[in-house]
């Protein structure tokens, strides 16, 4: 189970342990961190990065750390909000430019971010997603202010076209003095190391996770007289919707008992509708449109086979969610997908209609012959693979490691920028770093750090929301713990 909701005291032993007096069980945790997650992408926006940040934060809070999230304002949602367990979210009034990413001038966000970092006594900045301008801004400012930085990359990029050459250069600059980088799969690590010219030793691989309690099988929801293939993805080119439009007629003609359920919305929906129209498949291909995250499970459990046609994918949560619901997964062999599930749970195909049809036919014949394991069995295997607790534990190790490192002083940082990012870009960004530093000095002169109010912690060791137990109960618990040890 993931770290949402209160949960009984027995359900989070680590959090209980971290709260006891330092003397008794101090070996468990040396110290806690004040972590600030920064990304343009957060709730109410929905997606992989958003839920990653939320779930990771919840688990880190459970482990006794102080966590705050900084994102930009979403419409009416601005200012400070508190989520479950006192997770504090700053919605900053920054202009959104494109695809929910803020515009960046590299400087304009410094006053606000500095204020937050100071009043929250942040020690580690953890930025998410290379598409987020705010995340890169925060990294830049954090280094100017001498804070430790961690960056999580959630996506893959190519190297071939002009736009990726430019974004890769910017990533090189942004990550050139970041303490540690986290990638979600080994393929993603290779990609990031190449894109940003990094030392692979400072890149950790920590996969995404899914909440297995949210994705449980329900074999009674599906009709076993027919075979149902489920597809849940945004209907865009990168998700391979074009391939899907070739697979549907091909297989529907071959298997009269085959149905498709397609969840998701996007610009490529029109071609699926055209295919459905042309081959008269209205009763066999259901297009559900956009799904809310909570409805995904109810769609998944209606199917026998899950089909993923993505053309590029760093991790692919969708196939883990589907496998957790007990479906046989058929997927393209792209990006990090081969690393995600063991061979007996996934059928990997080349990204072509022919290969995917063969994969689906293999799954269908296995299903008909009864060779597939029961959904409950698949669920029980998959639920041990990826848990947010595990992710948080491994991320914590990264934080512990980073906290012991020294932040480069200004002169070394400039040297590193110049030597690492190439002569032209290096000098430009070194200049910008100097300007940023002067701006910071100016801000410190206008409002010294000592003048800034220190915020009351919502989470962390002395958090206002951290549940406290009456001394007698705590002691009793302590004794019980020491006995069990």
């Amino acid at each position: 189970m993931a770290c949402r909701g209160g949960g009984g005291p027995g359900q989070f032993p680590s959090a209980v342990l971290s709260r006891v007096s330092p003397g008794s069980l101090s070996t468990y945790r040396t110290h806690t961190h004040n972590i600030c997650m920064v990304s343009d992408f957060f709730y109410p926006n929905m997606g992989g990065v958003e839920s990653h940040i939320y779930q990771l934060s919840q688990c880190l809070i459970e482990r006794g750390h102080k966590v705050i999230i900084v994102t930009h304002a979403y419409g009416n949602r601005k200012g400070i909000r508190y989520l479950t367990n006192g997770l504090k979210v700053y919605y900053l009034p920054l202009k959104v430019m494109y695809n929910q990413s803020t515009a960046t001038t590299l400087f304009h966000s410094l006053p606000l971010l500095r204020y937050i970092f100071v009043r929250e006594r942040v020690t580690i900045i953890h930025s998410h997603s290379s598409f987020s301008a705010m995340a890169h801004d925060a990294l830049f400012h954090a280094k100017t202010m001498g804070l430790q930085t961690v960056f999580t990359d959630h996506s893959l990029f190519g190297f071939a076209d002009v736009s990726s050459v430019l974004t890769n250069k910017l990533l090189t600059v942004s990550l050139c003095d970041t303490n540690h980088i986290i990638c979600v799969s080994y393929t993603s690590k290779e990609n990031t190391v190449l894109r940003a010219a990094l030392n692979p030793g400072i890149v950790s691989v920590i996969p995404n996770a899914v909440d297995p309690t949210d994705f449980t099988p329900d074999p009674f929801r599906r009709h076993d007289s027919i075979i149902t293939v489920v597809v849940v993805s945004r209907l865009v080119y990168r998700k391979g919707t074009d391939l899907l439009s070739g697979i549907i007629p091909e297989l529907c003609q071959k298997y009269p008992d085959l149905n498709f359920i397609i969840g998701g919305e996007g610009p490529k929906r029109i071609i699926l509708e055209e295919v459905r129209e042309r081959y008269q498949l209205h009763d066999r291909v259901r297009l559900l449109g956009a799904l809310e995250h909570k409805d995904v499970r109810n769609v998944l459990v209606q199917g026998h086979i899950f089909l993923n046609t993505s053309l590029t994918e760093a991790f692919c949560m969708a196939i883990v969610e589907a496998a957790s619901c007990g479906l046989q997964v058929v997927s393209t062999r792209v990006g990090g997908i081969p690393e995600v599930l063991p061979e007996n749970l996934i059928i990997l195909c080349e990204p072509s209609v022919k290969s995917l049809c063969e994969g689906l036919e293999k799954a269908i014949s296995q299903l008909k012959s009864g060779a597939l394991p029961a959904p409950e069995d698949i669920h029980n295997i998959v639920k041990t693979f990826y848990t947010w607790r595990n992710v948080a534990e491994r991320t914590e190790k990264v934080y512990d490691r980073v906290a012991g490192e020294a932040v480069l002083p200004m002169d070394r940082r400039l040297d590193r920028l110049i030597s690492h990012c190439g002569p032209v870009t290096g000098y430009i960004f070194a200049l910008l770093a100097v300007v940023n530093f002067l701006f910071l000095v100016f801000l410190r002169w206008v409002t010294p750090d000592s003048v800034i109010d220190i915020a009351i912690d919502a989470t962390g060791p002395d958090g206002a929301w951290t549940p406290r137990y009456p001394p007698s109960k705590k002691e009793g618990k302590n004794n019980a713990m020491s006995k069990t040890r």
């Binding site: 393929t187 691989v205 190790k397």
Partner: protein, 297 residues
């Protein structure tokens, strides 16, 4: 997982999988790291002389523009009688027309299914209309100052060179736009000529050199590369000669331009090829190689 490498499982082999907890730290770098990296798998190796041969398309187009301007200058100065130009143009068009069918043995014509009668009709329609409208063309831009006309012509001819279809598959290529710009330039320049007959012949000549001549060149290049090289050389020298008769400095500069495009640029390109480092790997976005339109047709 776990940050401390475990010593007693030395035989434990690292696997590139995420679902298993492995006795390696998260930032472990295996020997297999980046083993799937491939370089320059789609890169083409260019041969110097092949590139020189391909550059002749650009040479041809530059020369076309040069010849056009030289002819206009001669007309403007009154050194070239319009009847003479019309006669030569008509004769060479006819030769070109016959050649066009001869080169590929009439295959292109069979494929397009276009009859000679249709060709004749469109030629007649075009000539009649241009002739009929030539007084209008002549006076169309009369009120515009000559400097503006020259500037516009220069920009239009440059645009013609930029957007011309040299065979590259790029977004900037637009043969329609390119041809339109050239014709626009010819209309501009024609209006500075003494009489409407001059204007008519100038525009006809522009059509011949900017629309018909590249079509013949393309066919020549595809079917008889040897004679194409000869034609290109001949054309280039005649353009140079024409320019030389007007301005020696211009001719020298133009010759330098031609040499650098046909010899230096290919040399530079083949040299730069050595530095090409195109990285491919499992992170690349997969390409859909099949034709999926058949499902919708």
């Amino acid at each position: 997982m776990g940050t401390q490498p475990v010593a007693d499982t030395e035989e434990a082999k690292w696997q590139k999988v995420l679902y298993e907890r492995q006795p390696f730290p998260d930032n472990y770098v295996d020997r297999r790291f980046l083993e799937e990296l491939r370089k320059n798998i789609h890169a083409r190796k260019y041969q110097y002389w092949a590139v020189v041969f391909e550059s002749s398309v650009v040479i041809q187009q530059l020369c076309s523009v040069c010849v056009f301007v030289v002819i206009w200058w001669y007309m403007d100065e009154g050194l070239l009688a319009p009847q003479w130009l019309f006669g030569t143009g008509l004769a060479s068009s006819l030769i070109g027309y016959v050649l066009f069918d001869l080169i590929d043995g009439g295959e292109g014509r069979k494929k397009s299914g276009r009859t000679r009668w249709a060709d004749l009709k469109s030629a007649l329609v075009f000539i009649t209309f241009t002739y009929g409208f030539s007084p209008v063309l002549k006076t169309l831009t009369e009120s515009v100052s000559t400097d503006t006309i020259y500037a516009m012509s220069v920009f239009m001819l440059l645009g013609h060179l930029i957007f011309f279809d040299y065979g590259a598959n790029a977004a900037i290529v637009s043969s329609t736009l390119s041809l339109n710009m050239a014709i626009f330039a010819s209309v501009c320049l024609a209006s500075r000529l003494p009489r409407s007959l001059h204007a008519f012949i100038m525009v006809t000549f522009a059509i011949q050199i900017f629309a018909l001549w590249p079509m013949l060149q393309k066919k020549l290049k595809a079917c008889t590369p040897r004679s194409y090289v000869g034609v290109t050389l001949l054309f280039a020298f005649s353009a140079l000669g024409g320019l030389l008769s007007i301005s020696a400095v211009g001719a020298v500069l133009f010759a330098l331009l031609l040499v650098s495009i046909s010899c230096l640029c290919p040399f530079y390109l083949t040299r730069l090829q050595l530095f090409k480092e195109n990285i491919h790997g499992p992170w690349d976005e997969a390409e859909i190689k099949e034709d999926l339109s058949r499902f919708l047709s």
